[in-house]
């Protein structure tokens, strides 16, 4: 029975992906007449032709997203691990006070609107990449998780390094960081995933089309608020009309692609990190 339940659930997890892939390879006329199906009536790559006929917009969005993801993950990991390190040191006097100072932000917040007004009116980050990058760098949960990982590193390592005359930053950089790789990997994945999948901050802060990250571009195309700029008439002949429905699905595939290919490799680290975190409580 277990096998059946698990198989059904796994199939349900795959089904939507399959429908999108099938939709992206269908002929537009079939979709308009019969709707999306599990198997395309007529196999067609028109949608992909349209997407790649003038890929500038998607390449641009890829650049924005990759740039944000890399910078955000590296900076975020750096700041999170530094904070986690300080809070994990038992000989740090203000440890509990600062830990609560950070933890309290998960309990109470000003809410979306004051946060938005701060970023737009006071920091003046409207339509700036900073608005996409900075507010997502750190989260209290990540710092707490990091602190818990680092707590398991024996104090004697820090002490012996101190005796050898190492400064605090050297200890953190040369000793603690290399010993915290599982924690760093897990939090790095969390950060990377949240930057890659972010559409909300672009939705509220970004107005220039060329600054759209991938997921927001997809959102706009799905909502039909924007049409992908494909130079179809020039490239594919005059009788070719833009396949709107299948195009949406093709863009969804192109935009999601790397995650789908990377996830089996990434998943292993995730499971490892989560398992360590869960067992430690």
């Amino acid at each position: 029975m277990g096998y059946i339940v698990i198989s059904v659930l796994a199939l349900l997890c795959l089904l939507p992906f399959w429908l999108i892939i099938s939709g992206s390879f269908s002929a537009e006329d079939d979709i308009i007449r019969d709707g999306f199906r599990l198997v395309p009536n007529h196999f067609s790559i028109d949608a992909y032709k349209a997407v790649f006929s003038n890929p500038m917009q998607i390449i641009q969005a890829y650049e924005v997203t990759v740039g944000l993801t890399l910078t955000g993950t590296i900076l975020g990991l750096f700041f999170t691990s530094m904070a986690g390190y300080v809070l994990s040191r038992k000989d740090f006097k203000y440890r509990d006070k600062l830990a609560f100072f950070i933890y309290f932000t998960t309990l109470f917040s000003g809410g979306l609107i004051p946060w938005y007004i701060l970023i737009v009116n006071y920091l003046d980050w409207k339509d700036s990449y900073l608005a996409l990058l900075v507010p997502a760098l750190m989260s209290a949960w990540n710092i707490i998780l990091m602190k818990n990982f680092m707590k398991s590193i024996p104090d004697s390592i820090v002490e012996s390094a101190k005796i050898d005359g190492a400064g605090e930053f050297t200890i953190y950089w040369k000793l603690i960081l290399p010993l915290s790789t599982p924690g760093l990997a897990t939090i790095g994945l969390f950060l990377g995933l949240s930057y890659w999948n972010d559409w909300f901050s672009a939705n509220v802060f970004i107005t220039t089309e060329s600054k759209y990250p991938l997921q927001f571009l997809l959102y706009k195309i799905l909502a039909s608020a924007a049409v992908l700029k494909t130079d179809i008439a020039g490239n594919l002949g005059a009788d070719f009309k833009a396949p709107a429905e299948t195009l949406k699905m093709a863009v969804a595939i192109v935009v999601t692609g790397p995650i789908i290919f990377l996830y089996p490799f990434v998943q292993r680290y995730f499971v490892k990190g989560l398992t360590i975190g869960a067992v430690k409580g």
Partner: protein, 288 residues
């Protein structure tokens, strides 16, 4: 070395807390924070009397309850089944597949919903037409969305939660199972009398912990699935979507901040209460 983090939280968390003052004003963009006229509790009063607050709170709480219970239960079942499976290949493959939805963006989830339920071209309606039945316009009826939203939320978190429960199951000592096997217990008996009772504390605590956040919504999920569809507000509007609308569509800053403050304040009270209960049940698991 902790300075960047402290600065970050002061700027992005503590300074906006001052901004809850907007909730007590009739906000105007010219006036700014303290230039807008002070109106006291009027925003709250309006939210309360218009019935908006009641409906929003009800939706938020009920959805979260459904997410928490259905989600945790399924995750637990999956973890128990997976842990008992012998075929390594089958186990690994299905677990990977169930983890897949966790990695994709809510925008893609929105694409799935569009693909499935869209009136003209959605797969469900294609199927209905294929069977010779009347197509159904999902976007005009409130009834199905409860299930659709709960389904996709549970769907997205299934793999992740299963891993957490699997870790807890792995933490159960093998000796229990060995002893039971010698006594002649079959696999179902062992699940029933060993795995489930030993997992109960983890289950209860995970549920308790998530109850603290019951007023917080999943903005991404709701917005990508339903969007700003006024027809469906009764069934799909939660505090987070209301606050977002106040900001981005209606420009009703005072009212939106008031709803946000209500959410934060009662969420805070709830977390403190839940934490107090957890402390009574199992001291080690308390948050603070």
């Amino acid at each position: 070395m902790i300075l960047p983090a402290l600065l970050f939280f002061i700027v992005f968390s503590y300074i906006p807390m001052v901004g809850v003052y907007y909730a007590f004003t009739n906000f105007s963009f010219d006036g700014g924070l303290f230039g807008s006229p002070f109106v006291g509790m009027q925003n709250f009063k309006f939210l309360f009397e218009s019935g908006a607050l009641y409906n929003l709170t009800k939706n938020t709480v009920l959805y979260n309850l459904a997410f928490i219970f259905v989600g945790n239960l399924l995750q637990l079942i999956c973890a128990v089944f997976l842990s008992e499976m012998a075929g390594k290949w089958f186990k690994k493959t299905t677990q990977s597949i169930m983890f897949l939805p966790f990695f994709i963006s809510f925008v893609l989830v929105g694409a799935f919903v569009y693909n499935l339920f869209n009136f003209e071209t959605g797969s469900v309606n294609a199927l209905l037409r294929g069977l010779g039945l009347q197509p159904y316009d999902f976007y005009l009826h409130t009834a199905p969305w409860k299930y659709i939203i709960v389904f996709f939320n549970v769907w997205k978190g299934l793999g992740y939660g299963t891993v957490i429960y699997l870790a807890a199951i792995m933490g159960i000592s093998d000796e229990y199972h060995e002893a039971a096997k010698i006594d002649g217990a079959n696999i179902f008996k062992r699940i029933r009398y060993i795995t489930i009772p030993l997992l109960r504390p983890t289950f209860v605590l995970l549920i308790l912990l998530s109850l603290g956040g019951i007023l917080k919504g999943q903005f991404d999920l709701f917005w990508q699935i339903v969007g700003n569809n006024g027809m469906l507000y009764d069934a799909t509007d939660i505090i987070d979507t209301y606050v977002y609308r106040s900001l981005a569509i209606n420009f009703d800053i005072g009212m939106g901040t008031a709803a946000g403050l209500f959410q934060s304040f009662f969420g805070f009270v709830l977390v403190v209460t839940v934490n107090w209960i957890v402390r009574k049940v199992q001291k080690d698991y308390a948050l603070f």
